[in-house]
Symmetry: C2
Subunit: 238 residues, 2 copies
């Protein structure tokens, strides 16, 4: 880390393409799934719709969907009012122990510490319409009711909901992508009931701070909350 090449232009000159369109499409869909943006058991948008939004041809999208289907994430029903459905126990056979490299881990956590507290602060400062308040409340309730199987996904969903309240697309995107990476990290450590309950108290407190417009409080609470997970990760991964 100390041998870094400062001023090196390759920081921006990162790959234009992370893989072929097919691979990136799978990646995106998986991201949306792990982050809870597609509620389990529900129908995904139509192929034509998805392809349009992902900026990819339907052929490519279908290749990706077919792969996810083979991997046990999706179920497809034909005919009118048919569609692609996200299975409840999607991707149970996840590979596990992907073993994320320490630099990557550090990067994810530092960046999260930058954007999430800011998101909470901005959310609290914003003049939130009723629909926004309702959305946050719903995500919180879902999270509080979650069991071990659904917790991680709903946790991600809640944090993204906070970012959504800022109405800042760049920030929402940053939080979403970061959350997908955090989820991959968390998959490496066990889920303990004690931590879970403590986290949920924090989720509740953050929500209240945001809804009451307490920006400084929301920020501070979010920092605390993130520190908890970070410490947990440090503890479990040497």
């Amino acid at each position: 880390m100390t041998t870094e090449n400062f001023g090196h232009p390759y920081a921006v000159l990162r790959p234009v393409r992370l893989g072929n369109a097919f691979e990136e499409t799978i990646e995106r869909l998986l991201q949306a799934i792990t982050v809870g943006l597609f509620p389990p058991g529900q129908k995904l948008p139509s192929e034509r719709d998805l392809a349009g939004h992902l900026g990819v041809s339907r052929a490519t999208l279908r290749e990706a969907l077919s792969e996810l289907q083979k991997a046990g994430y999706l179920e497809v029903r034909r005919g009118r009012y048919g569609g692609t459905y996200l299975l409840q126990n999607a991707g149970v056979a996840s590979d596990g122990a992907a073993h994320i490299d320490p630099e990557e881990r550090w990067d994810v956590l530092v960046f999260r510490g930058v954007i999430e507290p800011a998101a909470a602060e901005l959310a609290a400062e914003a003049d939130l319409p009723a629909s926004a308040r309702q959305h946050l409340q719903t995500c919180l309730t879902d999270l509080l009711e979650a069991d071990h199987a659904t917790y991680r996904t709903r946790d991600a969903r809640f944090h993204i909901a906070v970012a959504e309240l800022t109405s800042c697309p760049s920030l929402i995107t940053a939080v979403t992508e970061n959350r997908a990476r955090v989820s991959a990290l968390l998959d490496e450590i066990p889920l303990l009931t004690a931590n879970l309950e403590h986290s949920n108290q924090q989720h509740l407190a953050i929500t209240e701070a945001i809804l009451r417009g307490d920006a400084a409080g929301a920020r501070a609470l979010m920092i605390d909350h993130l520190e908890g997970t970070a410490a947990l990760l440090r503890g479990f991964l040497h």
Copy 2:
């Protein structure tokens, strides 16, 4: 903005491809240029090298370079010790008045207000090696010596240098991309000597705070600094 669709999965399902590889490659190179990562008058990395880093075939890269050459950004010399050179007065004939939409403007500025103060804070907290301190100092000196023609580029370069000190790739990338967008905004308003001098005082103060390890100070100074430009933009654009 109040009619936002909260919880809509399309926030992550943004396009996998923003354009074809050729267009995206131009975009990237242009970004690196406007943000001062390729010093004017100097040689760019070789085509084979650039193509590799951008994850694009040399044919595609060459198309992009040829376009930038036609647009007056680059000069190409053949033979050994030849290469692609960035012209001093690159892209003078920039289209101007691209007229960025207000939502985009707001997004850029809000996001900047999130990531840049955090970058300054983290930079000040970091245990900086001599090379890092030197790099920041160099970028600052270049900026203080800049004239009207070179100011914007070196300004961007300085802000990216601050982010580089954090050694957090996600943050560096975020700041770099954001800066490219900020530059597009600034191109719409005039450069006033008074503002420029005031900005440079702030740049100096930020540098000092970082080098002395004053995290809170660096953060506060950066917030002040950004507020200045934001106010300027608000003033000039209705």
